[in-house]
Each structure stands twice: as structure tokens, then as C-alpha cells.
């Protein structure tokens, strides 16, 4: 993704945080851009792409957490990263950031329990392939504890669901 597009997406996810929390941040507020830049600087040098990626991962993770009504939607939508998604290249950072939020691993596990319950058909479960591919990639490459336990849970749940 080009840096200009990334910056725009980061800005949108930052703005999203404000209206998710119903904090006052009018589109016409002249200080809004300054507020945004001030917050971005806490992630690093604005000239560096990695700063924007860190911010995207953080905002995206927080937004997913605050918007979570049904845990299964984290698997089916939020973290169902398919190659056609604009944020596909940042998928690992986004999920890692989410898993660092307190209680997030439990939310993912709840989502998997819901997905492998009788409520969903096998066809519907297969729509979450992007998530399962991500766990598979992560477990193999870095063997981080959180994704390892998610991977094990996926194996156990799919065996139970048959």
C-alpha cells in the first residue's frame, strides 16, 4: 500500500475511535489535524512508514474491541484477512496488537466457540478461512504463545464439530 493511502486509512481509524467513544471531534474542528498528529507522534517519527503501521494496528485493534457485540464477528469479519483486503499486509501487526489488550484472547476463544457451535454451518465456518490462514502462518513463523493457543483451540474445536 502506498504511504499516502496508508496515512488516510490511519486517519480514518483514528477518527473512528472518537466517534466510537462519542468524544467531541467535529470534522470542521480546526484543531483536529493537530490532535491527530500529536497522537501519531507518540508512535514514532511521522516520516517513517513503521510509525503509521504501528498506529494503524493500535487503532484498528482498539476499534475492533469497542465494536465487538458478537465475538464470532472477530473471526468472520475483523480478523478474516483475505488477500483482497487493503489491510492484508498489516494483518499480523493488527492481530498481535489486539491480543495484547487485556481479555482479548478470551474474546477470540469465545468467538471460536460460537463459530464451532451448532449455530453455524460448515459452509459458514469456511468463510473464516482468512483467520485460520493467519493463525497457521503465525504459529509456524513466530510460535507466539497467544497464537499457538488459538491454533490449538482451532484444532480442538474443528475436531469436535466434525
Amino acid at each position: 500500500m502506498r504511504i499516502l493511502e496508508l496515512k488516510q486509512q490511519v486517519y480514518e481509524d483514528w477518527y473512528r475511535r472518537h466517534w466510537y467513544n462519542q468524544s467531541v471531534c467535529s470534522p470542521t474542528d480546526p484543531t483536529r489535524d493537530e490532535m491527530f498528529k500529536r497522537e501519531l507522534r507518540t508512535y514514532g517519527d511521522l516520516r517513517s512508514k513503521s510509525t503509521w503501521v504501528k498506529a494503524l494496528a493500535r487503532f484498528s485493534a482498539l476499534n475492533s474491541r469497542e465494536a465487538c457485540l458478537d465475538a464470532c464477528n472477530l473471526i468472520l469479519y475483523d480478523f478474516n484477512f483475505t488477500p483482497d483486503r487493503w489491510d492484508y499486509e498489516f494483518r499480523h501487526q493488527v492481530v498481535e496488537e489486539f491480543l495484547m489488550l487485556p481479555g482479548s484472547l478470551k474474546l477470540i476463544k469465545l468467538g471460536l466457540e460460537q463459530l464451532f457451535s451448532d449455530t453455524f454451518t460448515q459452509e459458514e465456518r469456511s468463510q473464516a478461512n482468512g483467520f485460520f490462514e493467519l493463525v497457521h502462518e503465525h504459529s509456524g513463523a513466530t510460535r507466539r504463545i497467544a497464537t499457538e493457543s488459538i491454533g490449538q483451540f482451532c484444532l480442538n474445536s474443528s475436531a469436535t464439530a466434525g
Binding site: 462519542q22 475492533s64 465494536a67 465487538c68 457485540l69 469465545l110
Partner: protein, 98 residues
């Protein structure tokens, strides 16, 4: 929502808009304030579960009836606005909004 061209952020934005209209807060806050288990709507008070059913049914009906078109961003905007308008229609049904 997927059939109308929405993505993960469309789902999240729509859920937050609906929850804000019907309950005055976002989903995480709703779970916290009711002492319920986030991610498991069956743990919410029954009235809240009912309110979501009513709001989601109305939004689904309105989305099916509406032609959604344009770029990814335009479709996202139309879907979220439709869900918001649908939620506006039904929020007065619930006693905590009287």
C-alpha cells in the same frame, strides 16, 4: 451486509451506530455497564437482547430494500447510514429512551 459490498469495518461501524442509537453507548460499554460477558449477547439483559433483534430486523429489511452502489467507500457509507436511520426509527420503542 457482505452481500451489499460491506467489509469488516462496515460491520463494526454499523454495530456501533446501532448500539449508540438504541443504547447511547458502544457495545463494549454496554457489556461493561450491564455487567455482562463481552462478545456473548445472550449474557445481556433480556430487554437489551430484544432491542437488538428489533433493530437488526429493521436494518436488514431496509438494507434489502435499498440499492447500494459505488466504490468500496461509498458502499460502506450508504450501509452505515442505512443502519443508523433504521436504528433511529426503532429507538423510541424502548422505555430507556422515553
Amino acid at each position: 451486509m457482505q452481500n451489499k459490498g460491506g467489509d469488516g469495518r462496515t460491520q463494526a461501524d454499523s454495530t456501533v451506530r446501532m448500539t449508540q442509537k438504541v443504547f447511547g453507548c458502544n457495545p463494549e460499554e454496554l457489556y461493561q455497564e450491564t455487567g455482562s460477558r463481552q462478545g456473548d449477547r445472550s449474557s445481556l439483559p433480556v430487554d437489551a437482547q430484544t432491542a437488538y433483534i428489533v433493530a437488526e430486523t429493521t436494518a436488514t429489511h431496509d438494507l434489502k430494500a435499498k440499492e447500494i452502489k459505488g466504490t468500496r467507500q461509498e458502499r460502506h457509507q450508504q450501509i452505515v447510514e442505512t443502519v443508523e436511520e433504521s436504528s433511529d426509527k426503532v429507538k423510541g420503542l424502548f422505555p430507556w429512551n422515553w
